[in-house]
C-alpha cells in the first residue's frame, strides 16, 4: 500500500489540506434519520468503541458489537463490556454480512489487519466508518469501490464522549468523507447523522477531510499537545530541584499547573493566559517564549515535514513491525523520570499562584501553541484546523496530566500520539538545554518577587500588541465566537 497523500497531485494535496469548516447547528435538523433503522456494527470495544456505541444506541440507533471468536469464547474484557451494557455481541461472520454501517474503532495499528479482514464480509453498498484517517491517508488502504468511507472523530477521550452526552451535550467532533469512496453521495448525510448520534453536533462539528485531519492531528499531538507538555514537565521539574525548591511543591506546580494555565487559554486564548500574569511577569514570559520559539522552530518544522512526506508514519510503522520496541522503551524511560516518580506534595497552591510561580510554563505553552499553529498554516493546513489541533486541544491534554501525570497522558492518547510525543521529547530536551541553563527559580518555582511591579509603557504596549495580533488569536476569536451560541454556558 502506498501513502495516499503522496499519490495526490500538489493541487489536490493543498485542496484537501485546506478543508475545514465549522458547521452550523441548523445543518443537523435531520437528526439521526440517515442512520435510522440501519444496522450499525462496532468493531473494537475499547473506550471509544463502547462509549460511542452507548451514545448511538441512546439516540435511537441499532448498535451491536462484532468481536473476534476468541474474545467471545474466552469472555474477554471487550465481551464483558459489550454484554453487561446490554448489546448484541456476535462474531465477524455473524454480524458483518448484514451490517449497513461498520464502525472501525480499533487502534490505528490494527486498522490494516482489521479492514482487510472485514472488507470481504461486508455487504454491497455498506458504509465503513473511521475515527482517525491514518489508515487511509498514511497507509493508503484501498477500500472496495461500492463501500462508502466516512470519518467521525470526537475530539475527546471515549469517557468524555459518554459523559458529555449524558449531560445533554457532546464533544467537538470532526467529520469527513473519503471522496474516493462515496459511490452514492450519501457519505456526508451519514457522517452528520453519526455526529448527532454521539451528541457532537451540540458542541460543534468541523467538516474536514481525511487528509487535513491526519496531517494536522499528527502535528498537533506530537508537538504542542503532548510533546511540549512532556518536555516542559521534565525540564521545569529538574530546574526547580536544581534551584532547591521542595520536590513535592515542584511536582504539584507542574502536575496541576498545565491544567490551570491552559484553562485560561481555553476561555480567552493566549491573550487571556498572558493577561493572568502581572505586567513584569508577562513581559518576562513573552521574552522567554520568543527565545524558545527561535530555538524550537526547526524542530517543529522537521515534525511537520516528516508528517507531510510520510517519513513519520513509515518510521512508526517500522516500529510496529518491530513489536513497538522504541515505543515501549521510551514509555519505560518516562516512568523513570524524576518528575514522574515524585508525588505531588500536600501543599496548597492557589489558582493565581500557578501563574505567578509558573511563568516559564506559561511561556512554553505560548511558544508551543504559536509555533505549532505557524508551522501548520505554513504547510498549507488552514487556520481553522490548525487552531483546533493546537490551542483548542491543549487544555484537554493538560487535564490528563493533572489526573496522573505523564503516565495518564500517555495512557489516554493513542499509540500514534504517544510515539510522536516521545520523538519530540527526545529532540527537544537537548535542544533546550542551553536555554534552561540560563533560567532561575524566579520564572519557575518562586515567582519574580518584585518590590516594584512597574513596567515601561512603550514596552508593555509592544508586547500586548504582539500577543493579541498573532494569527492564532485572530482565528481563535472568530471560532470561539462561532461556538458562543452552542458552547456550554456552565
Amino acid at each position: 500500500m502506498a501513502n495516499y497523500f503522496n499519490t495526490l497531485p500538489l493541487r489536490m494535496q493543498l485542496a484537501e489540506l485546506a478543508k475545514c469548516r465549522f458547521m452550523h447547528l441548523n445543518e443537523f435538523t435531520e437528526g439521526v434519520d440517515a442512520l435510522k433503522g440501519k444496522k450499525m456494527v462496532v468493531i473494537g470495544c475499547g473506550a471509544q468503541g463502547l462509549n460511542q456505541g452507548l451514545n448511538l444506541r441512546d439516540s435511537g440507533l441499532d448498535v451491536s458489537y462484532a468481536l473476534r471468536d476468541a474474545a467471545i469464547s474466552e469472555q474477554r474484557q471487550s465481551w464483558k463490556n459489550a454484554t453487561e451494557n446490554g448489546f448484541t455481541v456476535g462474531t465477524y461472520d455473524e454480524l458483518l454480512p448484514t451490517a449497513d454501517v461498520v464502525l472501525n474503532l480499533t487502534p490505528d495499528k490494527q486498522h490494516t489487519n482489521v479492514v482487510n479482514t472485514i472488507m470481504p464480509m461486508m455487504k454491497q453498498g455498506a458504509c465503513l466508518s473511521y475515527s482517525h484517517g491514518f489508515n487511509i491517508v498514511e497507509e493508503g488502504m484501498q477500500v472496495r469501490d461500492d463501500i462508502t468511507v466516512i470519518m467521525v472523530a470526537p475530539k475527546c477521550p471515549g469517557s468524555e464522549v459518554r459523559a458529555e452526552y449524558v449531560r445533554g451535550f457532546g464533544v467537538p467532533t470532526l467529520i469527513a468523507v473519503h471522496e474516493d469512496n462515496d459511490p452514492n453521495g450519501e457519505g456526508l448525510a451519514m457522517a452528520k447523522a453519526y455526529a448527532v448520534g454521539t451528541g457532537g453536533h451540540k458542541a460543534g462539528v468541523l467538516m474536514s477531510s481525511f487528509v487535513a485531519e491526519v496531517k494536522s492531528d499528527l502535528m498537533g499531538e506530537q508537538t504542542i499537545l503532548c510533546g511540549m507538555l512532556q518536555t516542559g514537565s521534565l525540564l521545569c521539574f529538574d530546574k526547580m530541584i536544581e534551584e532547591g525548591i521542595d520536590a513535592g511543591y515542584a511536582s504539584k506546580l507542574i502536575q496541576y499547573g498545565w491544567e490551570t494555565v491552559t484553562e485560561a487559554l481555553k476561555y480567552g486564548g493566549v491573550t487571556n493566559m498572558m493577561d493572568r500574569l502581572s505586567n513584569p511577569a508577562k513581559i518576562r514570559a513573552f521574552d522567554l517564549a520568543e527565545q524558545m520559539k527561535d530555538i524550537m522552530r526547526p524542530l517543529y518544522e522537521k515534525h511537520q515535514d516528516d508528517i507531510m512526506t510520510g517519513a513519520f508514519s513509515s518510521g512508526m510503522m517500522a516500529d510496529w513491525a518491530n513489536d513497538d520496541a522504541k515505543l515501549l522503551g521510551w514509555r519505560a524511560d518516562t516512568a523513570q523520570t524524576a518528575f514522574e516518580k515524585t508525588e505531588a506534595g500536600d501543599v496548597e497552591i492557589s489558582e493565581q499562584e500557578y501563574f505567578d510561580n509558573g511563568i516559564l510554563m506559561v511561556a512554553m505553552v505560548k511558544a508551543g501553541v504559536e509555533l505549532a499553529f505557524e508551522t501548520m498554516t505554513a504547510a498549507g493546513i488552514i487556520a481553522d484546523s490548525a487552531y483546533y489541533e493546537s490551542l483548542h486541544e491543549t487544555p484537554l491534554i493538560a487535564n490528563t496530566i493533572a489526573r496522573k501525570k505523564l503516565y495518564e497522558m500517555n495512557a489516554t492518547i493513542s499509540d500514534t500520539a504517544e510515539y510522536g510525543c516521545y520523538l519530540y521529547n527526545h529532540a527537544c530536551v537537548p535542544l533546550l538545554a542551553d536555554f534552561m541553563a540560563g533560567v532561575k527559580s524566579d520564572v519557575i518555582g518562586k515567582g519574580l518577587e518584585l518590590d516594584d511591579t512597574g513596567v515601561d509603557n512603550a514596552r508593555l504596549i509592544e508586547v500586548n500588541a504582539a500577543i493579541r495580533n498573532h494569527p492564532v488569536e485572530e482565528i481563535g476569536g472568530i471560532l470561539r465566537g462561532h461556538m458562543a451560541d452552542m458552547k456550554r454556558i456552565v
Binding site: 439521526v32 439516540s59 446490554g86 449531560r167 451535550f169 454556558i489 456552565v490
Partner: protein, 469 residues
Amino acid sequence: MPTLDELSVDFDGRFQLNNINWTIAPGQHWLIAGANGSGKSALAAVLAGEGDRLSGTVSGLPGNVALVSYERQAELIAAELRKDDADILDVISEGTPVAEIIADVCLDAELAQTLVATLGLESLMDRAFRKLSTGETRKVMLVRALTSRPELLVLDEPFDGLDHDSLNWLQDYLAKLAETTPMVIVLNRFDECPDFITHVAYVEHGQLLQQVNRTDEGAFGELHQLLHLKTSEREIPMADPAIELPPLNPDEPLVQMTGVTVRYTDNTVFENLSWTIEPNRHWQVSGPNGSGKTCLLSLITGDHPQCYVNNIKVFGFQRGTGESIWQIKQYIGYVSTALQWEYRVGTGLRNVIISGFFDSIGLYTTSTDTQKAIADKWLDVLGMSGWADEPFNRLSFGEQRLALIARAMVKHPPLLILDEPCLGLDDMNRQLVLALIERICLSGETTVLYVNHRLEDSIQGIDDHLVLG
C-alpha cells in the same frame, strides 16, 4: 427555669402536642415558629398552664405567666357574652368596661396609665370591653399582660392587627422589657422576629422539631427558608407553555416492566421483577443498600444500559425499538445524590433550574424570557429570590438539593423520580426538602416515585409501596 420533659398535652381532643423537650434558660428569649396548625400557639399556651397533660412533666414555671393570644382574647369576650346570657333581666347589659378589665389583673397602675395613653385607649376606658374592635381588644390584652408584672411573658402574634404607631412603640417597649423579663413570642412572619430574640423553636405536627440558637447563622437562615416554604402561599410556577410534550395516553401506565432482570457477569441485582406505575399513583420504593433501588430507577430513566435487553415500556415506548433517551427523559423529572455529584457546575442558580427544561446538566442553549421568569418564580418559592446568578457550586449542599428538585419540577413532568432526596442532608434541610416535595405531591399533575429507606421521611399522599431486597 421552665422545663418541659417528654411532655404530651391534649387540647380538648382537637390537638395534641407530643414529646416536647424544651428548657428556657435564664437570659433566653424564644421565638416559636411553624406553619399554620403546626402547634406553635399550643406550645405557647402550655407555658400559661393550658391543655391537659397526657404524659411527661412541666417544671420550673414561674407563678405569674402572662399570655396574650387570640384564644385568651376570645375566651375573655366569650365570658363577657355569657354575662349577658346570664342576665335574665330585660335590660340591655353594657358589659364590663375596659377600665375594669384592666384593673382586674393590674399590679402597676402607673404603668397602666402610661400604656393606655400611649396606645390611644383613653377614650375607650368606659366602653364595654366586648364592644371594642379586634385591634382595640388586642391592645387591652397587651396592657393587661404588661401591667401584671409577669415573670414570664408569652405573646402569641402580638403585632397582629396593630396600627403602625402602636406596632413601633410595642417593639421598642418589648426590647427594653427584655432586659428584665424573659419572653416567648409566637410569630407567623419570621421577618418580624425582634432583635432581642435569642432562640427559635420550630414546631411541626405538634412536635418541637428544631431548636436553633440565633448566633448559628447557617441554621437560622435555613430555618428562615423552611418557614418560607411552609408558610408562603406562592403557587408552584407553571410549566413553559412553549414546550409541548407529545401527549400520553391517559389510560396507559407510565411505566410497565415485565419480568425484568439485571445481571452482571458475577452477580444478579434482581430477577423477574414486574411493576406497573399507573398515572397519579404515587409510589415509595424502599429496600436495604444494594437491593437495586437506584438500578430499578435507572431502568426507567434509560440510564441503565440493560433497559435495552428487558421488557420495559415507558411513556408508550417499548424500549429498544428506535426511541432515543431524550424522548423518554422529557417526561421525567429526576433528583438523586448521584445527580448532585454530577452537577458540578459554576453556572448560576437560575440556569440550573432552566436546565430542567432540557434535561441537561448545565445549560447549552439560550433560554427564553418565559423560561427565565419561571425559574425566578421557583427561586421565589424556595425562598432564594435574588440568588439567580449565585454560582451553583457555591451553595450549601441542602440549597443545591432544593434547586435540583425545582429543576426536576420546572417542566411539570408526568413522572417525578426522587432517589433518596434527603440523603446526606441534616435535619433542617431534610424538613426543607420534604416540605417542597409535599407541596409538589399536592399539586396533582405529577406522579411521584419516591425512594428512601428512612421511614420518618414519609410523605403525605404516597400510598403505594414497593419493597426490594
